[in-house]
Symmetry: C2
Subunit: 339 residues, 2 copies
Amino acid sequence: MDRILIGHGSGGKLTSDLIKGVFLEHLKSPILRQLTDAARIKVTKKDLAFSTDSYVVKPIFFPGGDIGSLSIFGTVNDLLMMGARPLVVSWGLIIEEGFSINLLEKITKSVAYAAKQSNVEVVTADTKVVEKGDADGVYINTSGIGQILDGVRLSAKSIRPQDKIIINGSLGDHGIAILGQRKELNFEFRIKSDSAPLNNLILGLLKNSKRFSSNAIRFMRDPTRGGLATTLNEIAQLTGLGIVIDEQNVPIKKSVKAACDILGLDPFYIANEGKVVLIVDKDKSEKILEIMKSLAGGRESRIIGEVSSQHKGKVILKTIVGGSRILDMLVSDPIPRIC
Amino acid sequence: MDRILIGHGSGGKLTSDLIKGVFLEHLKSPILRQLTDAARIKVTKKDLAFSTDSYVVKPIFFPGGDIGSLSIFGTVNDLLMMGARPLVVSWGLIIEEGFSINLLEKITKSVAYAAKQSNVEVVTADTKVVEKGDADGVYINTSGIGQILDGVRLSAKSIRPQDKIIINGSLGDHGIAILGQRKELNFEFRIKSDSAPLNNLILGLLKNSKRFSSNAIRFMRDPTRGGLATTLNEIAQLTGLGIVIDEQNVPIKKSVKAACDILGLDPFYIANEGKVVLIVDKDKSEKILEIMKSLAGGRESRIIGEVSSQHKGKVILKTIVGGSRILDMLVSDPIPRIC
């Protein structure tokens, strides 16, 4: 058994062999192991976050990660954006007939390790197999449940003019890492994806929220597909307010900048997988920044701009050379299948 | 805009247009409408069921249903099998570039209607687009959360010898309906899929559970992929007990039987999408049967066999002609991409 057969998706003995021989070897959840139609889970509080994402990244292995770890971190980060502690995730596979079982095991191991790092349990799963040519290797859906922390109520509606905008690090690493692999370009610096769980940073920050005030953090979103520009445009639209960004304060690695220049891409539109944008009360912004910098995943945090009562519904970039331009919403994809 | 472009999966403006122009037109959840990274949901009790399933059915429209309604009913039924009231579901799309937006709207409408029928809300969603040739039209993942009813604790561990086995209707309708479409056979009777939500039946039955006793229903499972034979084998393996089925009591429609005969298929291995197998206390089995027959989706319920202390770990079929044979677990797929 070294290749996926159509029968591995049959629900019969081959499926069972795959589940026991590969998945349960690495995913050790006692809940998953019961192989019931759904997972039975306990939560101790009443407000939950529930998120879903499908992962179709190409290639499935890339510098800094793979589709397995990405499928965990991506969903975990979406839960964290709601102010929730991620608890459990599901794992739904759509596999192309003929896919290597060895690679599937490698992906499963990566999922197991990523789940451990993110402190979540894979409690329910599903496997489908489609005929050769009807998928590209493997696609994964990960849905997740998290418990919203007491007193946390993040909402775009609470955003006010003069609120500060913070990002926890440099733009575009993930997208350029993927693109570098796909086009087999020879960058001088090998660029690694920033794919990572934001648990330590977000939960650490929220735990410290008594040091500022419970509503000082207005809103969080991870700038994945569409990049920072798209995330900021979404916020501008949700609030009806303007957003002004200082280009000189936005961290972009030289290697990423060089790659973008060569490829004619704008790093503001490139996907990130370990970044978060926070909108915070200006009076507490320095305190929040200080706490973020003290936490893993937050050391390179910076204030990059602010919310404005002008430029309603728009994102303005004050450029390094002293001008300003509108950062529009992404229309189509500079890099498809980035996640 | 009549075809899916790669940019519809970009996370940018085209994605936003698709979400607003198609999905939110039909999926009216106020929670979904917030377009946050995850849904914030309230549950009033502590024990939850969490399930995931991907749907790759081919063709995506078939007599009695389509991939949209199937993606809701399938996940809803898995939650019900845990004794849970389905509450919310996620909806994750992987769409092939070039797919018709008109068809996507038709599927979305079907999802909206199926969710209404099943009394669940689509609260979080995701759209990915892959290049032409890298999927077959559209694949859907639906994960769901349900609230386990008070006092309900279904478990294969509670199954005892002499327990009765009940099914709520005829075998194989879904699989044969799909196969009939795919191979363009001309069956004399057009066979419709049994795809349906089991809410009324299961919640109605559990609500009446004071009329038998709380642990009289030991276990439930829906015989989908792999059919009744596979479900019963799973139960035999989980319990280590034997299962004996009377073939003459197992309902199979004449048209399905005829189709199976022509195609050399065994209806015991064909997928169902609106059926449930219950294992119940023999002393309460007639009472449970009576209640099931009074409920929508349960009118054709029958006792089809019993659990045995003999034939450990095996499923035995007592045939109509008076013999008996082992119903083994399905090894591979008689009909791939059935769900």
